[in-house]
Amino acid sequence: MAVVQRGAQKDVQKDVQKDRSMVLQKEMIEQHFARLERAPDTGEPVVYTFVPGNMTELIRSFGALPVLPEINALQSGMRKQSADYIAEAERSGHSEDVCTYVKCDLGMLKAGNIGPSGTRLPKPDLLLLSYTGCYTFMKWFELLREEYDCPTVLFHVPYQGDGAMEPQQREYMLRQLRDEVIPALEKATGKKYDEDKLREALTLSARSEDDLVAVLHSAKRRPSPIDGYFGAVYYVGPIFSAFRGTPEGVEYYRALREEVEARVAAGLGPITPEGSLDDQKYRLVIEGPPNWTHFRDFWKMFADEKAVVVASTYSKVGGTYDFGFRHNPADPLGTLADYCSGCYTNLNLPSRVEMLATYVREYQADGFLINSVKSCNSFSAGQLMMLREVERRTGVPGAFIESDLVDPRYFSAANIKNRLESYFQMLDARRAGSVA
């Protein structure tokens, strides 16, 4: 069921439709940020970590609250605050060449650390540097450590360079968890490691993951009841951030699944900025993160063309559940290691290409698109080759556009729109050709 809410953004003047799950998520996030703001008074410990390789269940088993800096940065982008934050960071010596998430986060910190929901973010009691699939993470927390002067623990997740995790790599992760990460969490929170509590959370995680996967797989239908990119970034919000392994997370994903199943039963498409997209002309697969500063405009470019995204890789940066992974409470630390290792950007390029080709085939996509963001070499380096390789394997034409995560200077609406329009015309021409 969709409800109507007044748009929160200053530039959004008209009423927008929102699903019930979106409202639920908004409430969850607001409550989480309110709790974070009160943390200095309530004494709840706070642990900063990253989305890929986040170990929310472990953090919460110590009674700590997670903060995900990338989420704050993207939210700042959506709220049109990132440009000022980035400018602030660049004024203090950060290069224009590096990740804008980092600069946005540092700029926000310098500007008083007021988070995206308008509440002050607490200082971390621990920086849990889950170094998973992104080199910049390591530097990001080295930089934050200088600002916060707080304990930091590194969790190094080896890259799957050969397309699979090897025994010595898994053992390395397990030893780090036992010898480094858990002792650091015990010290930061003053609580002992409770494996039973962790198992309980992991059981809840698996339930949420089942529901999320059902939602993502629903895009195989025609019409797709979801948008697997613009919509999916909302769907993965709770599981990628503070709510995996929590009862609220389970409730959210149950509600989301029911909502999507209701749309399937009614033959409806996803809710987009322009309303329900039931008449779907193009089915696309997208690789790469979205642009956040113009998220709504970007989505609208697709919706206007009746293009629905049926699968995306960005919605797998916090876990590749749709390929079968589930958190396993029977092996609590092993499953955390397996989870981290399997996050999308920790996979090598041949695996990423194969994933995209699988999506194109299984979701019967008409085309696939790469949104290459300047900020993120982990995603972007090699994407031009991925484009050619996916085209070669699937016979489906690809397109390539460029933007950035949260730096509005690198979003050229006219250029992107032109490219998309040309691309859709090309898809039309191919269709016409195949009919003839």
Binding site: E142, Q176, L349
Partner: protein
């Protein structure tokens, strides 16, 4: 006795040869042997050597290679090195390599390993993920496992698996190599007018494509020649060049810094050949010894996690003190994440310690040096006027 000019000419010819004739010549002279390439920054060359293969550094095409095919693989906001590496490969210049290793320097080089797998499925390709957690039972055990895996794989490629004795012999050889590299750097530190960085750099680059034994011989000859033909001291400033550990600056940039009045007395160029700062033990299990050496290694660099919260802040002062440097030039390749993300922390530390510094970015194919000359010249003058203690 070989003259300095002869040795430098020999090194320059190797540096300028983008067809790797020396490597191909070595392969022709050693039938049945193979060559393994590696990208910056660190690979365990001892394992490569012990597998009976010639280690070959791949440092791009510098300013001597027109990029025609390589640009089709990369967006404009990716550094230059991988495009010239792809160009070298796509034009057949790296066909003589039977294996290529991609160290965990950054995400660009990491992803290039996957591209190589797709482009050259018949070549052995491995991403070398060095440990970032330096405990003996964590990073040490992991790295030992990685080394054993690499050793096994390269043995299969070369057909001559590395036994313990071969690894020990290789360790001894590379201990010797590092000793001579340290000697070269020490000679420059003591008297930079005797060992211009242009010459030191060319020698080091030559060492990336010839057998270690030949490199050692040439360094020994060079140092002897330097003693026989000392230079004349100038009133230059002593500077450290920081950040050029992966994509290498064009030789013209190094010369420009020196000609602008700066003696380079420490640098990050070609860091892989001195990544291990102390000798590796030749006793006991040699693979374990290599792993222990890495874990116990004291080198601080942008490609490794810094566990000490004050480590980054202190590093520049420590290096400046050790090198008796007057100032620091932060020279990073454009779009180089490791160097550019580190720079604010390193620079803040330098400024806290009142060490003069400047920063600029380059690309391996930078062709205009006027702006660098002006910056470095002004920097040197300002140090001489106001900066020296």
């Amino acid at each position: 006795m070989v003259t300095r000019a002869e040795i430098v000419d020999w090194a320059r010819a190797l540096y300028e040869d983008l067809d790797f004739a020396a490597v191909k010549g070595w392969l022709a002279d050693h039938p049945g042997r193979k060559a393994v390439g590696y990208l910056p920054v660190y690979v365990p060359r001892e394992i490569l050597q012990a597998s009976s293969m010639l280690p070959v550094g791949i440092h791009g095409g510098g300013d001597r290679l027109e990029i025609i095919k390589g640009d089709a693989f990369y967006q404009s906001y990716i550094c230059h090195l991988p495009r010239s590496v792809v160009e070298l490969a796509q034009t057949g210049r790296l066909d003589m390599l039977s294996a290529v290793l991609f160290p965990s320097t950054c995400d660009v080089i990491r992803n290039l390993s996957g591209m190589w797998k797709l482009l050259y499925p018949d070549i052995y390709v491995r991403y070398i993920d060095v440990p970032q957690v330096m405990g003996a039972t964590t990073g040490g055990a992991f790295w030992e496992g990685e080394l054993r895996r690499l050793s096994k794989d390269l043995g299969e490629v070369s057909g001559q698996p590395a036994g313990d004795e071969a690894i020990r012999t290789a360790i001894a050889l590379y201990n010797d190599t590092r000793r001579w590299v340290r000697a070269l750097y020490a000679a420059r530190l003591d008297a930079p007018w005797n060992v211009p960085t242009e010459e030191l750099y060319l020698l080091m680059r030559a060492g990336e494509v010839v057998p270690a034994e030949l490199f050692i011989e040439r360094v020994r000859e060079y140092l002897a020649a330097v003693e026989a033909e000392p230079g004349r001291p100038r009133d230059n400033s002593r500077v450290i060049v920081v950040g050029a550990f992966c994509e290498q600056p064009p030789l013209g940039l190094i010369k420009t810094i020196e000609r602008a009045g700066c003696y380079i007395v420490d640098d990050d160029f070609l860091l892989g050949n001195r990544f291990l700062t102390a000798d590796v033990s030749t006793k006991g299990d040699p693979t374990r010894a290599l792993a222990d050496a890495f874990i116990g290694n004291g080198l601080r660099t942008s490609v490794l996690y810094e566990p000490d919260p004050r480590g980054k802040r202190r590093l520049m002062k420590e290096r400046a003190t050790a090198a008796e440097a007057d100032g620091i030039i932060f020279a990073a390749a454009s779009f180089c994440d490791p160097a550019l993300l580190d720079q604010p922390m390193l620079r803040a530390g330098a400024e806290e310690a009142a060490i003069p510094c400047i920063a600029f970015k380059y690309s391996e194919n930078s062709g205009q040096f006027q702006q660098f000359r002006e910056q470095a010249g002004t920097f040197s003058d300002s140090i001489k006027l106001w900066g020296r203690a």
